[in-house]
């Protein structure tokens, strides 16, 4: 083969970088375009309060999507995350009201999230049951269990120090700090540390990963363990946003989290995507939600527009992938 011809076909480093972060850039440009368009239509959209509201409103979804992205990247899925967050939020609130120190009310739910999901991961890895089945079962168990125990009573009267999501550090709401900080840490970890990279390996090609020394079973349990940790943090943000905790499971939360991961570029076939994408996608959802109100889209058509946007984003991603493949 003519090496000169091959060499001239190799894309430049910068172009490679753009290509590998393609989906994240699509989502980011979506956010920017919306801000420009809606900002022109109604400048109040770009007011401080509204921007803060957009970035912090879905922060808990972004944090949950970090864990979900890792799970999906390693080739699995979790449809019970919504119920888990509901349960952990209720535990946090109950501890807060029950005269325990605030840090107990913060740490115990996270610990429980890790324990529960480790068990789920172990069941998937060692009993050979597909993740969608186990988590479908867990969804029911957690949802029913929550109502049984709380009897539907809401939790009110929580001490002020507990309400971490309502605190502001340097003028920026705490949820935004959590979201950005955790996203960056995990993104760097997954690109640079062998353990972080193992998720990509196992998700993309389990056999090759096994040959390289990564155990798919251990990776699965680890992925779910980490997912439980982030579900716990998301539950804290969810529980402390308002002064009352609804002790029911927020409807459709799992679908929203999965959609955020997927739109952010995490491939359901495993092996690609970053948590930066899922966080940007969660922000994009909040942006779209706010935009549709500011643009006076008829309230009755809101959901249809949202669905159309999801499909368009996914199609755009697929077309982009095809184009990448063809040009190689």
């Amino acid at each position: 083969m003519n090496t000169a011809a091959v060499a001239s076909n190799v894309p430049s480093r910068r172009w490679q970088w753009v290509r590998s972060y393609g989906q994240e850039l699509v989502v980011l440009s979506g956010i920017i375009v919306l801000m420009i368009v809606v900002g022109l239509y109604n400048p109040r959209f770009l007011s401080d309060n509204n921007l803060i509201s957009i970035f912090s409103g879905n922060a808990y979804i972004a944090v949950a999507a970090i864990g979900m992205s890792i799970v999906i990247m390693s080739g699995h899925i979790d449809v019970s995350v919504g119920s888990l967050i509901g349960v952990l939020a209720t535990i946090a609130g109950t501890l807060a009201v029950g005269d325990y120190p605030v840090w107990v009310a913060w740490l115990v739910p996270v610990a429980i999230g890790v324990i529960v999901n480790t068990a789920v991961g172990a069941l998937i890895a060692f009993a050979g049951i597909p993740s969608i089945v186990v988590t479908l079962g867990m969804l029911s168990i957690l949802k029913g269990g929550l109502i049984s125990i709380t009897k539907g009573n809401w939790i009110t009267n929580m001490p002020g120090e507990f309400l971490i999501a309502q605190q502001r550090w340097l003028g920026i709401p705490a949820p935004v700090w959590f979201m950005v900080f955790l996203t960056v840490i995990v993104a760097v970890w997954m690109k640079s540390w062998p353990l972080g990279r193992s998720f990509y390996a196992v998700g993309g090609n389990p056999e090759a990963a096994r040959a390289a020394g990564f155990s798919p079973q251990r990776t699965c349990v680890l992925a779910f363990m980490i997912h439980g940790f982030f579900a716990g943090i998301a539950a804290l943000l969810f529980a402390t946003q308002l002064q009352v905790i609804q002790s029911t499971v927020p409807p459709n939360l799992e679908l929203t989290v999965i959609t955020a991961s997927v739109i952010g570029g995490v491939s359901i076939l495993g092996g690609t995507g970053t948590v930066i994408g899922s966080t940007l996608a969660a922000i994009l959802f909040a942006c779209i939600g706010s935009s549709l109100v500011f643009l006076n889209v008829s309230a009755y058509w809101l959901r249809a527009v949202l669905g159309l946007l999801i499909l368009t984003t996914v199609l755009a991603d697929m077309i982009r992938r095809h184009r990448n493949r063809r040009s190689l």
């Binding site: 109502i147 029911t248 939600g289 109100v293 643009l295």
Partner: protein, 366 residues
């Protein structure tokens, strides 16, 4: 491609958001606004239009099992009605009552619950319907098996149940809400609504009646927008915050149409620092609103007493089962609530809406 689509969507939607004569979220059934000055509306006497059980066994004085199937379980409002029902059952002494229902406000699940209890042979069913027509077939089946059926909070078609305990008339609730709002923000204010979904019958009725009453008695009230937030309080909070950000000073008041939407809207106003500048008026349970009433962010909470509602419903069912309440009656005795008036043929009126405010809210625990 995404960008092109977004631009088109933005252009199209600017066309879509045209002005509505009626407030968004109302249904299209005929409205009947009350008089502006508070003179009571005329209630025409109607013949009894409820259904009747076939071959009901004689339950007079006997012990009965009753199941209460609300729209959904797990929200403060229906916890309160359930408490009222249990209180009444304890008072009566010969009723064993339990509450069971779906975890989401879903017609199919509610029908399945009622169907199962019919099979298990309960003596009486209390219900709050997710949809008045969808629930009718299964309730008629209950009647045909001789089970006594009484509704509360959300009605079904009249012939599918024997009696319906109405907290207050739709136009009465609408008047109370709108008058409370005008008292706080004046007659020229801009208001928005946070509701659960547009398909919830009660909410749609109230919004339609509020719209009719406002155009009759407070025509300068400017309706801005209605947003949906299901029964999710974080979503309600986010939607209310978006409204506050969007309208800025043009927004003077928010109506909360459910016991989830009102506290969340109050929280949004509090966190946005707009307490005192944006009024919150709505339907809510006292416990959820106590923090906001304490800070004077919310002046008054309109509701009826849901515990009383459940209490009355239970007493009505007992009276029906005992044969003491017959079609054509003008009133019925409901324990400590005294005599309740019967209107519209087969509706039992609980009374006037109750207003919770700083003075009395701490006396309630639900």
């Amino acid at each position: 491609m995404l960008k092109k689509f977004l631009l088109t969507a933005a252009a199209l939607s600017m066309v879509a958001g045209s002005g509505w004569a009626q407030w968004t979220g109302g249904d299209d059934l005929p409205t009947n606004p009350l008089a502006c000055d508070g003179s009571p509306g005329s209630v025409a006497a109607k013949p009894y239009d409820g259904g009747s059980p076939s071959n009901a066994p004689n339950r007079k004085g006997k012990s009965i099992t009753v199941v209460d199937v609300p729209k959904l379980i797990g929200i403060g409002y229906f916890n309160a009605t359930s408490k009222g029902i249990t209180d009444a059952a304890k008072e009566l002494g010969n009723v064993s009552a339990s509450t069971d229902g779906p975890t989401e406000a879903n017609i199919d699940d509610q029908i399945t619950f009622i169907d199962n209890y019919i099979t298990s042979g309960v003596d009486g069913i209390l219900f709050a319907a997710n949809d008045p027509v969808a629930i009718a077939p299964v309730l008629k089946k209950a009647l045909s098996k001789g089970i006594n059926v009484v509704g509360y909070d959300a009605n079904s078609q009249p012939d599918a149940r024997q009696w319906f305990v109405n907290q207050a008339e739709f136009n009465g609730i609408a008047k109370a809400l709108v008058d409370s709002m005008v008292a706080e923000v004046g007659a020229n204010a801009g208001i928005a609504i946070v509701t659960s979904t547009f398909t919830t019958p009660n909410q749609a009725r109230w919004i339609a009646e509020m719209s009719a009453y406002a155009s009759k008695c407070h025509p300068n009230l400017k309706f801005l927008e209605t947003v949906e937030a299901q029964e999710d309080n974080i979503l309600s909070f986010n939607q209310a915050t978006t409204l506050i950000n969007k309208y800025g000073d043009d927004l003077d008041g928010i109506f909360g149409m459910t016991s989830v939407a009102t506290p969340a809207s109050a929280e949004a106003v509090t966190q946005a620092g707009e307490c005192g500048k944006i009024a919150i008026v709505g339907l809510a349970t006292p416990n959820a609103m106590k923090p906001y009433v304490a800070t004077n962010c919310v002046k008054s909470v309109v509701l009826w007493n849901p515990v009383d509602l459940g209490y009355a419903a239970m007493h009505v069912l007992r009276a029906v089962a005992d044969g003491n309440l017959k079609p054509g009656a003008k009133s019925v005795k409901a324990g400590k609530l005294g005599e309740l008036q019967i209107i519209n043929g087969s509706e039992i009126l609980l009374g006037a809406p109750y207003v919770f405010d700083k003075g009395n809210i701490n006396g309630f625990d639900f």
